[in-house]
């Protein structure tokens, strides 16, 4: 995948992706949105590209019509470089549960312009996943979510698993505010 400095993108893309922009989380801590992205030339390539043994890129970037129209309807798409770390984590999770792992639409990377965002969730860094199904089990109740939450949390100190809340229909995991700078890119 070709790495891109988000600051070099068109004004319209920069407005939607807000590369490198400082944002404040709910605790008042400052973070920078991803600046470096991989360019995704077409949906076909996203389907074909394996970012881990059992995950294609398309599984981690599927969004619905609540995404910014520019990012939804036109290619190339841009996905934060940290998506590879998420893919690696999900592969580890899949190995532990020994079953296919399904990420929901809007449940992988979504841009800061996505309309379901409340604030700037980890999804905007490409480091969060909403797992709605493991094997044949839909994670739609406390029991099934807690069962896999324990396994998900056991895979690393950097992993955070959201505790079950009434009505949850997925298990949410994230790796924090991870930004990756590709070797060929300059941060100047």
């Amino acid at each position: 995948m070709k790495a891109i400095d988000g600051l070099s993108l068109s004004p319209a893309h920069r407005a939607a992706l807000r590369p490198g922009e400082a944002v404040t989380d709910e605790n008042g801590n400052l973070h920078h949105l991803p600046r470096f992205f991989f360019e995704v030339p077409s949906w076909e390539e996203a389907h074909a590209l394996r970012v881990a043994s059992h995950f294609t890129l398309s599984e981690l970037i599927t969004v619905d019509s609540r995404e910014a129209q520019l990012l939804l309807r036109t290619f190339p798409h841009y996905v934060p470089c940290a998506i590879l770390a998420l893919a690696r984590y999900l592969e580890d999770f899949r190995r532990e549960v020994d079953a296919p792992v399904f990420i929901s639409a809007n449940g992988g990377y979504r841009s800061p312009a996505h309309r379901i965002n409340k604030g700037t969730p980890f999804h905007c860094w490409g480091t969060a996943a909403d797992i709605y199904r493991v094997g044949d089990t839909y994670l739609s109740d406390e029991k099934s979510i807690n069962r896999y939450a324990e396994i998900a949390a056991s895979l690393g100190a950097e992993v955070r698993v959201r505790t079950y809340q009434s009505g949850d229909d997925h298990l949410q995991v994230d790796l924090g505010y991870l930004n990756i700078v590709p070797r060929e890119c300059s941060e100047s």
């Binding site: 599927t62 619905d64 019509s65 609540r66 939804l72 399904f102 929901s104 639409a105 809007n106 449940g107 709605y132 199904r133 839909y138 739609s140 009434s166 009505g167 949850d168 229909d169 997925h170």
Partner: protein, 283 residues
């Protein structure tokens, strides 16, 4: 032509059928584009709208397409989690009682707005309905009704919101409101493409045991039924190749588990058809 005697005869026949049905309450409204005949029986009385409210969402989607805010091929995340209009507590749609259970197999993935719209109307899927209404929003759907000049339909929430139902916070409609809604769908409020999309979906209706039941085979009906334990409705446009169409709305409030409620509406449809066209209904 003076239609008053015909209208009066039709009124008496409808009232006879409905009073014999022991419906707790009823309303009938007819608008015939061929003769100009209009019939209104209790047509301003408010009823629980049941699934007839889905036609208002259909109109809002058509309008959003015309305004360029959505495209039919746009997709929505299929998830079965909604929030009560009363207190935002989460609730789900029961897959086994949904009109299109196949949609529940798509949970987690995306579905096209055009497909969801079709499943909402043709199969009366409650899951598709709530997904579309969450996206369009209740406020926008209500705004479109107002813009179209449709009065008598109060859209307040999605379907299967038990907590709202318990507090009597329901979608409501009058027979006249549904006549206006179907007249809007048939008129020039929507673009030709959106109008044809909406009418074609309504023509594919799967539940045909009420208005269409007594009509001859060459009739086609663009309609939507609505049934809950205490209400049984059907509303739509009846197309016949030899004449202009007519709109018929029949709303009934019934005792729970009362038998024969669909047959009552079918009888009303039959008598309306006979009176307007002079033709015989199906045996």
């Amino acid at each position: 032509m003076n239609d008053e005697p015909k209208t009066e005869t039709l009124r008496q026949e409808c009232e006879r059928i409905l009073s014999e049905s022991k419906a707790v309450a009823y309303a009938v409204a007819v608008h015939d584009y061929e003769t100009g005949l209009r019939l209104s029986i209790n047509s301003d009385r408010r009823f629980h709208a049941a699934s007839t409210m889905k036609v208002a969402i259909l109109l809002a989607i058509g309008k959003a397409i015309d305004d360029g805010r959505i495209q039919p091929n746009d997709t929505l995340h299929v998830r079965n989690r909604f929030r009560s209009a009363i207190d935002r507590t989460p609730f789900r749609i029961d897959a086994e009682s949904d009109g299109y259970p196949q949609l529940h197999k798509m949970i987690g993935r995306t579905a096209r707005i055009s497909d969801l719209t079709e499943w909402m109307i043709v199969s009366s899927s409650n899951l598709a309905t709530n997904l579309l209404l969450d996206y369009i929003t209740v406020e926008e759907a209500q705004r479109v009704l107002r813009e179209a000049g449709v009065c008598g339909i109060e859209l307040r929430r999605g379907v299967d919101d038990t907590k709202a139902h318990e507090q009597n916070f329901n979608n409501e409609t009058t027979a006249e409101g549904l006549v206006q809604l179907f007249a809007t769908l048939r008129g020039d409020f929507l673009s030709k493409a959106s109008r044809e999309m909406a009418i074609n979906i309504l023509l594919q209706q799967r539940f045909n045991s009420m208005i269409p039941a007594p009509l001859p085979a060459h009739a086609s009906v663009a309609h939507k039924t609505g049934e809950i334990s205490t209400a049984c409705h059907d509303a739509g446009i009846v197309y016949l190749p030899e004449r202009e169409p007519y709109i018929l709305v029949v709303l009934t409030e019934v005792a729970p588990e009362k038998n024969g409620r669909r047959e009552t509406i079918a009888k009303i449809s039959g008598i309306v058809f006979q009176t307007l066209t002079g033709m015989e209904v199906k045996a």
